[in-house]
Subunit: 164 residues, 2 copies
DNA sequence: CATGGATAGTTCAGCGGTCAAATACTGGGG
DNA sequence: CCCCAGTATTTGACCGCTGAACTATCCATG
């Protein structure tokens, strides 16, 4: 809105964006590779399982899981189906409302969660947490939170209302 | 290597990682959405076209383009095929070495590059560059470069040699 | 000049993700 | 009691990407 919207980026801005984007992309890629190699699980699936592991009864409604992980329902369906095929999760129908469906962690799934957790910890430490000083990490966290805050206000305020 | 490899992450570390990861993911997603909406082109394809636009003769060898964009050859093949279908790019065979193939920007492609550039500029300013002070941006850039540097040393040094 | 290794690019199968449409079920108002 | 709007999940088609074969071509060597 500040009218400078389409002035081309200067050198400084370009480099800042490139550095940020490149670092984040490569960091994610590296961690994903590590997770896949050491735990046989992509980071995103591990996050699903982590939520289940922390839920009471190690089970959650599909929609609750979708909420918790900020993902579209259809993604959940696909992901849970695949995790079910791998034996890490089991679907259970709700008796009182037959529309709803629970995803429950299996024993094998619980083991996978902890294994993946170790892999993630290790990867995170060696590629991220261990590479910056505590002060730098704190700064980075502050900056990330600022970005997030702006994204949130930008998404919630101006559009009137979100088409949930 | 520092023996603290598998100690679970503490609260602080977890939050830092989550903030960073979440901010970056959402930022990328937002910018991709904007690009798709305003220029009908995903960010990644725009980057390919940008390289072509800046190359002498608006054309590059496939392998050079792959190098420049840090992407696997097969990705290039697919992407260029699709861009060719959309009429933004044209393949040209090299006469001296029939193995090699050039990707050349078409007129339509050149227009798309500038349009996408405007869209990217606008999105970047409103979601990233415009949301942080110049000082913060400089800090963020420094931190990103530090992360990148560590990723590079980690990838090049210890494995002996990369199986190119 | 034939041959075998290196190089450039493509093909194929599969993964994780999105969106739009379909399905299955519930609960409240005529 | 029936019907219909709303809700929960699934389905299916497609997208961009990856890694592992495969094809075609080149070139150094014997």
């Amino acid at each position: 809105m500040t009218a400078m919207t389409t002035a081309p980026l200067d050198e400084e801005e370009t480099r800042t964006w490139k550095a940020y984007a490149c670092a984040a992309r490569r960091l994610f890629a590296q961690i994903d590779r590590d997770m896949q190699r050491d735990a046989g699980l992509p980071t995103s699936y591990w996050e699903l399982l982590r939520h289940l592991a922390e839920a009471p009864g190690r089970a959650m409604r599909m929609s609750a899981l979708a909420d918790a992980t900020q993902s579209a329902p259809s993604r959940l369906t696909h992901a849970v189906s695949q995790l079910e095929c791998s034996g890490l999760v089991q679907r259970r129908q709700c008796t009182s409302d037959r529309r709803v469906c629970y995803a429950a962690l299996t024993e094998k799934g619980a083991e996978a969660v902890t294994a993946a957790g170790d892999a993630a910890t290790q990867s995170l430490r060696s590629h991220f947490l261990g590479t910056l000083s505590p002060a730098d990490l704190a700064r980075l966290r502050g900056l990330s939170e600022a970005i997030l805050a702006h994204l949130n206000t930008a998404c919630e305020a101006p559009a009137g209302r979100r088409p949930r």
